[in-house]
Each structure stands twice: as C-alpha cells, then as structure tokens.
Symmetry: C2
Amino acid sequence: MILVVTANPALDVTYAVSSLTPGAVHRAASVHRRAGGKGVNVARVLHTLDVPAMTVAACGGGDGALVRADLRTAELPHVLCDLAGCTRRTVTMLAAAEDTVTLVNEPGPEFSPSEWRAVVATVHGLLDHASVLVCAGSLPPGVPSDAYAELIGLAHRHGVTAILDTSGAALSAGIVARPHLVKPNVEELREVTGIDDPLAGARELRLRGAGAVLASLGAAGLLLVAERGAWRARPTHPVRGNTTGAGDAAVAGAALEMAGGRPWPEVLRRAVAVSASAVLGPFAGDIDLDHHRREHSAVTVEEIHAACVDV
Amino acid sequence: MILVVTANPALDVTYAVSSLTPGAVHRAASVHRRAGGKGVNVARVLHTLDVPAMTVAACGGGDGALVRADLRTAELPHVLCDLAGCTRRTVTMLAAAEDTVTLVNEPGPEFSPSEWRAVVATVHGLLDHASVLVCAGSLPPGVPSDAYAELIGLAHRHGVTAILDTSGAALSAGIVARPHLVKPNVEELREVTGIDDPLAGARELRLRGAGAVLASLGAAGLLLVAERGAWRARPTHPVRGNTTGAGDAAVAGAALEMAGGRPWPEVLRRAVAVSASAVLGPFAGDIDLDHHRREHSAVTVEEIHAACVDV
C-alpha cells in the first residue's frame, strides 16, 4: 500500500468562465468542487491506476466536511484527523476564451502542535502496512518546516521508501532526512538551489540528501538524476489541457514503480506517461487511462551523458 | 421596519492578492467571508444607520450555515427559510497592485416551488409590521421571473411602499406590479429599455409601471425621475475605493427616507450620501458613517429641466 500524507489538503473549487478580465464581474457557468491538495491528487491517480493508496490528512470546518464527503464518494481510502480550523479552499478559474487556468489559493488554517502530532501518529501506525510513503504539498501554518523530515525518518526505520514533493523551506528541511526521491519542478529546483540548469540543480539536491531527483520540466518532460545515472524522457507528442496536477500524477507514477522495486528508467517512463495523461484529465487528479497506456508503451527514455540539459 | 427580501443570498468571500494575472497561481494574503447578496448589503447598511430592518431569505448547505451564522454575529434580524440546495458563493479578488476588484459569482442553487412559496409566506406574514418592502438582487434558478411582482402586489395590499432593485427579466416582470421605486444602474437601464440616455430610459421605466426611478450613474452620482419632476445629485468630490455595494447602499438610503415619507429630493440626497460613503467601506455592505454625515449635509440636489443628461 502507498501511504500519502497531504499536510495541507484543500477543497478544490473550479469555476468555468467564458473569459477572465481583471476588474470585471463574471458569472460562473459551472462550479465543480472536490477534495484536493497534492497528496489527494496523487492518491486519486493511484486509485484510477488500481494501486492501493491510503490518504492521511487533517480536516476541519465546512470545507473539511466536504473534503471528507468527497473522499468517501470517490472511494479513496483515508484517515482524516480532526482540525479545529477550517480546511482551506483553492479557487481555479478556467477561462474558455483565453484558454487560461488562474488559481487563487487560501493559505489554510493554523495547526496546533497536537493536531500535527495526530497526523504523525497516524502515519506511524500505518507504516507497517506501507511500501512507499509520499509526503506531498505545502506545510500548513503552525507546522515546523522539518515536519516532513520526521515522517521520512519514520519511513526509514520501517524500511519504507520515502518520496517528497514539496517546495521552499519544507523541501530544504525535508531533504536532510534522505528521502529516496524528491520531485521539484524547474522553478522549485531553482528556488531551493539557486541554480538555473535543472541537471546541475538536481545533482545539488542529491548532494544535500536526496537519493534521486525527478525534476519536471513542463512540456519538455521529466529528468531523473540518481546515484548511478541520469535519464530524460518526454511525452511522445505535446498535449494541451489542464496542467494543474500533472506533477502530482508524475509522483503517483513514480510511487507505483518504486513500490514494485523497478529500476530508475522505468520509474521515469511511468512518471512521464501518467503525467502526460493527467494534462488530458479535466481536473487535477484525473488521468486519461487510454492515453496513459499508449504513452507508457511509446515513451523513450534517454540516458544523459551531457553536463547540462536544454529545457 | 424595513423588510428586505434577498432572493438569492450569497456567502461573499474576498481574497486580497498582491496582483491578479490570468494564467498565474496566486496566494491569498487574507480571506474575508460574510453574508452577502444585494438585500443583505441593504440590511447591513440600514443596521449601521440604526434603522430597523428585517432580512428574509432562504439558505442551505455549508455556505448557507455560514450566512446564517454571520447574520447572527452581525446582529442583523433575519428569517431564513430552509433550502435543500447549497447557498451560492461570490468570490471577490482585490488586487493591490492594479487596484482592481474582480468578481466571480456562482449561479446559486435551484429553488423548488415550495421553497419559494415559503419565502413568499414569510414576507406576507411580516408585511403588517413593515413600512417599506425592498426586493433586491437576482432571482435564483427555479423562481419565475415575475416572483418580485407577486411580492410587490402583496406590499400594495398592505399599504407598504415597495422598492425593486434587480435587473433583466426580473426587473421587466417586476415593474408591471407598479413598485414605488426601482433602482437600476445605467447598464441595467440600457439592457431593459434599449435606450442609451438614462433620463429617457428612466422615463420609459415609469411608463412601464415604476412610480419613480433612481438610476445610478457610477461616479456621476444618481438620477431620480418621479411623476412630478426629475432630480440629479452627485457626491461632493470623487471617492476612490470598493464600489461593490454602492448601489445597495443607495437603496438603503432611499428606503430610509421613503419610510419617513420624505419628498423625492431628500430621498435622492440621502441615497447619494449613503452610496458615496459605501465606496469608502472595505466590503460591500459597509459604510463610513462620518463620511455619510458630511456628505448628507453637503450634497446639492439639482432639478433637471433638460431633455437628457450627461453621465
């Protein structure tokens, strides 16, 4: 079972608008609400791929109740700790005329120390049944930046593979605990390392503690840098759609192959195939299964011998 | 007591963002939630002006519970009928860098016939205690476009002054019941009459049944056209701020003076003073009381003898 911690879950609300004009009043043609946050997206993709996954998070308030209800409806196994504060909401505006995706994210409620301890204890209790632990997304206010490092440390003690997908201080502090894989995108890599070249940035993250680095390069595909090599793969052809959640889908693909103990090029191939199929899904966490099957057999993984890569 | 019907109430959520860029991901620096919808804004302004007002609406779901709780917290007297669907939400993005106010409004839940009948019965039961009935805002899905006409008819039978502030089909159908005052803005006036000049448009609305027409001309102030004259007034100086809710504040000002049986120029003076003071309030429904006092004594009302007006 893949255990997915979503430190800062959200109710994702998507409004379809004909056009988005700053300063104007818009009427949403449709409203779509569902449980979100990086970890929930990862778990949703794994569920679609028929891979057992368990979501651990903490929720509260009205939007927390909607998150809980949606996980139940979607049949995503979950353990949700209680939160006194109200779960945050993300607002996505899909503008048809300009083909843009605009997001406004609420910061999320402050966690008390005991609320975060409940999440840690839940993860601890479930690690014996897990093959992979995924720590995904931002840390909420009130949770220390080394919170993921503690969870990764617990994973090591249980012989569980640890994947970290976060950014900024949570990434810098989490990497010290030596996760088996981290998945930054190019901006997150640049922010944390100060290095423009993704290959050099990924190597820097390995020096800081990451076992391997899966860097998403947007439409240019993904890069994987491990101890004994570096590889790159890209979708067989460009896909247009909603790129929100494509990185989360890559994490789901990587987790699936790492749970099977597969070699890095296969981890990368799967990550690219799942990620490309997520762009075709209407909302973050959705994938197009047919596209995934086609991509998985068609994607070529190329070993990198160069000193840097083009993105 | 002023009875305010909010057919389609909302939970108004305001996000402060540094800048709003279509296609980008934004983090809300602050999140402000409160009960809204035109009628609630009118009642909130009346409450601030120490005028007894009663809000009648129907609410449901999580956001309906938040609307109910906020009305209680704000000490706004209310009777809320139950709704099976979930109360809509409006999302306002205040972008500091560009000084823009961008709104996305959810359409709102469908009312069943019995849910709307409960609102009508509640209004009917309260009309004996009312001096003015305000029908404010859009009609929700499932409610016929002549719904306000029925309420205005009930008001006439109880000798209660009726004010209508809505747009489109609800305005066209409501006006037939001869409300004492309607308050369109210039766009609403143009949409319903097809006439560009606000004075001519207002006269057209009188021909269609309105006792008087209070037309808001944005920064150019307000225009009032009644049976025996037409008047115009504007703020003493331009005010910058959040114009959302300025029209609702004008309705509150008009309702207050009409409840006291005051002449039209005084209705107009008050409407301009309250409306200008609303632009200085941080959120729709807020007014700056000091500014209102100063404006009310300083605003000059000018009688119109011309055939048309500049806006």
